[in-house]
């Protein structure tokens, strides 16, 4: 189901940095239509009944349960939300797909990983790159949950450097088969998959090639033992060995040498879905910790009324809110871009591919930001529970262990941080996003005389929006100078890239929250005042991060007058006219959460 309006002027990927977004142009969870609300409830109910209720079995590494619950998810159509109708799916829009990943994820990371590996990287490469025969043969079975998929990219020697794999594909003498040999590692769903997307190299090709491989132990495929993992304990993760595995030539995915591209695009989609899959965990951890804090008494007082605990609850709720705001904003951008391409005559497949690729920067930003938020959230969840949080009898320690993987897979957070800035700079060079003009404008502003007008901040969140505009200038100032200084060698200066990336991430996240709160406020939503408080709190923290990271970068690569000028610019661009009362904001947010006894936004 495509959500109604398609606004042709929607921002292109990465443009958020140089253009202002109108709050009415972003999609927020408040905009879910009735069908999406119903889907959300259905998925939450499933999560409660089938996943949360079985938490102990998941923690006891009951892999069979993972498979069984996956099958039930298939029966309810949850595995086929994103699959086109002609291949047995629901053909729903991208927002609905993201919503499903979101609400199914909070019971346990084990299920969430199995779900993501199957629907995302296990199925998507075929729907996005498969030919008609391949789609007809494999997609309906994957969509219904009759078959399960896995994605075999990583190898012992090829992790972050995914294109360096040694797995070989050799054409048979009769030209009918490829014989695949090699070792894959860390393969989710390996223990119960029927179909694998396998990446292998043909001859000495520069790039790897993708293949659809049916899992058949009589065809040279064997599995290692289940890995012993810190978290996601009931997610099956094994090594997969291929020994002259015969794969019909017609099972090559896309064309020879296109595998790296497939792998990267599958990961782009995977990244926003992974971000979504960390959202409901944050809501649930926040709710569970709040309930505990309301009940637990020390010094004759519920701990929820201590400032130390309130501060945690406020930050946990705020980060969850911000993650939601940014994830659904990007999801709708992707959906709209897909619809625009379809209306321009692209095939569904082509449109989807391009739509997702367009927002690869946002997908990387989300993956990093939200995976780190859930980690912090679970960590503070444990802290609120005190000693009980350290015990396996409460859900906090599992949430904490499960959260840890999100920073590693689908591209580590280091790789995604650098990708985000790298892709943006590339888009700038290609002229897809005009970075040069705005960067020059900032440079001349640095030498100009600042305006001393007293701005009018009577509109809701107008000072905050102005602050975002200034933070964007910080990014342009720092990244612009770095590009100038290092040119194509910028890639080598990772610490600079990481600093720039952190600034970029904070801008996108904070802006998304501000726009959502502004929209809610203009629409007179019930909880708009709390949304505003959370947007303000997040922005305050973001300004701090931007300030620190930018300063680190500036004092490391600029010297003398240039350094002084940029530091002055930084001061100007991170300066509030009216400082928010942070303790007041935290109290307000925390008191709402504790009063509702759950994450209520």
């Amino acid at each position: 189901m495509a959500t109604e309006t398609v606004n042709k002027d929607i921002l292109r990927g990465g443009q958020f940095l140089v253009k202002e977004t109108d709050c009415n142009d972003i999609f927020t969870p408040e905009d879910f239509n009735e069908e999406q609300r119903m889907m959300k409830e259905a998925v939450m109910e499933f999560n409660d009944r089938e996943i949360v209720a079985n938490r102990e079995r998941f923690e006891a590494k009951d892999y069979a349960l993972t498979e069984e619950v996956m099958r039930k998810a298939g029966e309810l159509g949850f595995l086929s939300v994103a699959v086109p109708e002609e291949f047995g799916g629901m053909g729903m829009g991208f927002v609905s797909t993201v919503l499903t990943c979101d609400y199914i994820s909070s019971g346990t990371g084990s299920f969430s990983t199995a779900f993501g590996a199957h629907t995302g990287i296990g199925t998507m490469p075929i729907t996005l790159y498969g030919n008609e025969e391949q789609k007809k043969k494999y997609v309906p079975k994957l969509a219904s949950g009759e078959w399960f998929g896995a994605y075999c990219l990583t190898e012992p020697g090829a992790g972050s450097d995914a294109n360096s794999g040694k797995t070989k594909a050799v054409l048979s003498e009769d030209g009918k088969h490829y014989l695949i040999s090699g070792q894959k590692m860390w393969i989710s769903n390996a223990g119960f998959c029927n179909v694998m997307i396998v990446f292998a190299r043909i001859e000495d090709d520069k790039n790897i090639t993708g293949f659809i491989v049916e899992n058949d132990k009589d065809n040279g495929i064997s599995m290692g033992e289940e890995e012993h993992k810190l978290g996601i304990r009931a997610s099956s993760t094994r090594q997969v060995f291929f020994n002259d595995t015969k794969v019909p030539v017609e099972n090559m995915l896309s064309t020879r040498g296109n595998g790296f591209k497939i792998a990267m695009n599958a990961l782009n989609v995977g990244r926003i879905k992974l971000a979504a899959a960390c959202l409901d965990s944050q809501r649930r951890v926040t709710s569970t910790a709040t309930q505990y804090a309301n009940e637990r008494k020390q010094f004759d007082t519920p701990i929820a009324s201590f400032g130390a605990i309130k501060s945690k609850i406020a930050e946990m709720a705020t980060n969850a809110f911000v993650g939601e705001s940014a994830t659904y904003r990007a999801a709708k951008n992707i959906e709209d871009r897909i619809n625009i391409r379809i209306s321009e005559g692209n095939s569904h497949q082509e449109a989807e591919l391009k739509g997702v690729e367009e927002y690869a920067i946002e997908c990387s930003i989300l993956k990093v930001a939200v995976s780190e938020d859930i980690q912090n959230c679970a960590d503070e969840g444990i802290q609120i529970f005190g000693g009980m949080g350290f015990s396996e009898d409460t859900p906090m320690e599992a949430a904490w262990r499960d959260a840890r993987i999100a920073r590693i897979y689908e591209g580590t957070n280091e790789i995604n941080r650098m990708l985000a800035v790298g892709m943006l700079v590339k888009k700038g060079m290609k002229g897809h996003v005009d970075l040069l003009g705005p960067a020059q404008a900032v440079a001349s502003e640095l030498t100009g005389i600042p305006s001393f007008d007293t701005p009018d901040y009577s509109e809701v969140l107008s000072e905050e929006k102005e602050m975002i505009a200034k933070l964007k200038k910080v990014f342009l100032m720092v990244a612009g100078a770095a590009v100038q200084k290092y040119g194509p060698d910028l890639e080598e200066h990772q610490m600079m890239l990481l600093a720039a990336s952190n600034i970029l991430i904070e801008i996108y996240m904070a802006e998304s929250a501000i726009l959502r709160a502004e929209k809610s406020s203009k629409n007179g939503a019930d909880n708009a005042e709390y949304q505003i408080a959370m947007a303000q709190l997040y922005l305050y923290n973001a300004v701090d991060i931007v300030d620190t990271k930018a300063k680190m970068a500036i004092i490391s690569f600029a010297e003398g007058d240039e350094q002084r000028m940029m530091l002055m610019g930084l001061k100007r661009f991170t300066k509030y006219q009216n400082m928010p009362n942070i303790v007041g904001l935290r109290n307000k947010i925390a008191e709402k959460v504790t009063e509702e006894n759950k994450y209520p936004f």
Partner: protein, 246 residues
């Protein structure tokens, strides 16, 4: 067999209850609404009759447009068509009158309502509806089997069960037991999508004047703080002088 399931649109049990307009009106602000649990047991049993015996299942609600999401959820679960009688559900009698008019027009063989709805807990509608439509009536029904016109139903009675035989047309006041909680259905994605294209007919109400109006609502007094006393004399003193109960 034509089945009509009455669907009450009620606040989720975890909702915070407040009143407005001088405590005469329920405050729906921020309240999550759901299918009345007793009705959901009935709907799930009706789905069984649909799948096993080829019955048709319509659902009905008496209420304003805000109840439509609840009706559409029933459609997503598998009902064939929905009817909303466009008038606020004021009291049991007026709701029963509205339902009776639809039941007569639609010639339903079986009407399954909940024993009571969990919002106002009136528990009057199914009995009145049976009387108004000249149908047989089984209340607090925990098991329902139908062969042709012949009905075997089990009722929950104080401390035990009663098996009754009767005939269609029948009105049932249903509850947990008609099916179990684990039988309740999560709407599947296809059902949710199909709900959009299933008919939801809005009918204008027949003229009924409610027999009762709400004068005011009152919430139970909030629980006070606990006071620990360590001797009987003090306890007696407090009960007598402070709580004034002895």
């Amino acid at each position: 067999m034509k089945i009509l399931v009455c669907i009450s649109h009620v606040p989720d049990t975890t909702s915070k209850i407040n009143f407005t307009e001088g405590d005469t009106k329920f405050d729906t602000n921020g309240v999550q609404f759901v299918i009345n649990p007793n009705d959901e047991f009935g709907l799930t049993r009706a789905m069984w009759f649909k799948e096993k015996q080829g019955a048709s299942v319509d659902v009905i609600n008496v209420g304003g447009p805000e109840t439509e999401p609840t009706l559409r959820k029933a459609l997503a679960i598998g009902a064939d068509a929905a009817i909303r009688v466009n008038t606020p559900a004021t009291d049991g009698y007026s709701v029963a009158k509205q339902l009776a008019s639809v039941v007569k027009d639609g010639a339903y063989d079986l009407v399954i309502a909940g024993r009571e709805s969990i919002d106002y807990n009136g528990g009057m509608v199914p009995g009145m509806l049976a009387k108004l439509t000249d149908a047989n009536f089984v209340n607090t029904c925990i098991n329902l089997e139908i062969e042709g016109d012949n009905v075997t139903a089990i009722r929950e009675i104080d401390g035990g069960k009663e098996t009754v035989s009767t005939k269609l047309p029948l009105v049932v006041g249903g509850q947990k037991g008609l099916v179990e909680e684990s039988d309740l259905r999560i709407p599947n994605m296809r059902g949710i999508m199909q709900a959009r294209s299933k008919p939801l007919t809005v009918k204008e109400p027949v003229a009924v004047s409610p027999e009762t109006t709400t004068a005011s609502f009152e919430k139970p007094a909030p629980k006070g703080a606990v006071k620990l006393v360590d001797n009987v004399d003090e306890l007696i003193d407090l009960l007598h002088n402070e709580a004034k109960v002895i």
